[in-house]
Symmetry: C2
Subunit: 297 residues, 2 copies
Amino acid sequence: MAIGRSPQSSSQTPDQGAARRPSRARGIPEATVARLPLYLRALTALSERSVPTVSSEELAAAAGVNSAKLRKDFSYLGSYGTRGVGYDVEYLVYQISRELGLTQDWPVVIVGIGNLGHALANYGGFASRGFRVAALLDADPNVVGGSAAGLPVRHMDELESIVESQHVSIGVITTPPGAAQQVCDRLVEAGVTSILNFAPTVLTVPDGVDVRKVDLSIELQILAFHEQRKAGEEPDRTESVLDRAPGPVRAAAAKLRRAAGGNGKGRGTAETAAKDQAEQGKSGKGGDGDLPAVMPA
Amino acid sequence: MAIGRSPQSSSQTPDQGAARRPSRARGIPEATVARLPLYLRALTALSERSVPTVSSEELAAAAGVNSAKLRKDFSYLGSYGTRGVGYDVEYLVYQISRELGLTQDWPVVIVGIGNLGHALANYGGFASRGFRVAALLDADPNVVGGSAAGLPVRHMDELESIVESQHVSIGVITTPPGAAQQVCDRLVEAGVTSILNFAPTVLTVPDGVDVRKVDLSIELQILAFHEQRKAGEEPDRTESVLDRAPGPVRAAAAKLRRAAGGNGKGRGTAETAAKDQAEQGKSGKGGDGDLPAVMPA
DNA sequence: TAGATTGTTAATCGATTAACAATC
DNA sequence: TAGATTGTTAATCGATTAACAATC
């Protein structure tokens, strides 16, 4: 049975869709896995303040989620709480860390050492979570030989030997999009089985390789969508009857529009502070902060 | 009716959970909104190659999603295809751009100009999507006066005047976590209603303000979870009968473990290349690349 | 007309949530 | 014991997907 190639095993980012791989590994839902890091961060903060126990209500508030959801999430891990009392902070930190695989050492290579590669190399949240930067790699001779976060930037030629000798199983791609697939192929060939992709490209990988994607521009676009809704009902609405006309007519209309000037970009609407409290249903995301800075300010 | 404060209006990141705000704005599901940028990117790439039409099957492959899902997603926007033919690329680019609000200009401020702030300022994907960096702000006198991406770094003191005079409604926070809430408060007070948060903190905002969160460390943790599963059934399993013992006993056991050495960190398991093809269900995420590089390599 | 492909339906699946019995 | 809080159930909701009638 040949190793099939499939576009993207997993995914991430914005809301980033929802249910992916069943993650039957002991049956923990993917949505729960994605929240474990949030709980862990909140718990670590409590631990540092020497708080001994915490209730689901308190912890849920700190992590920005609903307490029923938190209890349900924890129930997949086991019965780690005490009725009438709550959860032992240290114990839960340990259990979640173990579940996430953070009680072991994960050497990571970062490929593409531009600003973002630098930012990631300096990101304190890595080391504190069991991740260790095994190497920084770049193809540009002007970058190779330099350093970031105290580590030397090495040439792409060393990729295979580093991955193999250091047993690297996680690779981070921060190259331009044109280089990403090629870098990905080399990482996979060398033995990497998990990839965090910052390049705006869909990566194709063999079965058994996980890809997660972070796309900065997508996040902003999703914000823009909601922002647009706040500022009145689409004030720059350019729609015309043509938009509902039969295909060929519409297509011609679209071409006319484009020929007439870009993609209809207009001023306006950033009438900021549209303070209408859109009664959008809330729902938490995010975690509580104990991690080192993303980067020095 | 006072403006209530609620933790995080929206969210993002890992898989980042799933259904959030109903986004009843014309009834487009949040999961669909999150995929529109992916389709847009794939379509833009086709447009640049002057491809006139595309079928749902082709476009879905390029965007890394299932074609039924894509057609369902498009059905929320309207009937923009032609049966037996497919979709007109230019027309669809226009419609999705309009739906996302990208046919207007969105001035953005970036607060916290470290490596990540620099990376974002240089991120080409912004300008090409209707986003314009109105200002770069930092609190550090050593950073203020410098420049990034050809723009001067200005002092935090100017935040309010810039937001107001330039009608900025979107703010990006790339500060250390300790400063994030304070920066967020000032942005909101000045009139910003959408925030993209890179600091590992849960931000509290009033109703009507959207927050999306990108957490680099969370992505890696989710990868580690799956990576751990690949390398055999939890090889460094430290669990003992104590883990199922009653609360107080377990708590004591946890403390013993911690006292005995960190959080149980162990070597091993990065037995890389665990080439078992875990038969995980696939599901696409990510988009096709036409965006400028995340950063220069 | 015949072939192709959309748009929609309906079934399925997974995630969220309130509520409450179990139990500390 | 009384109060508190977990862990689980069951209902609800939203997202995914295959299948196919509509229609170009």
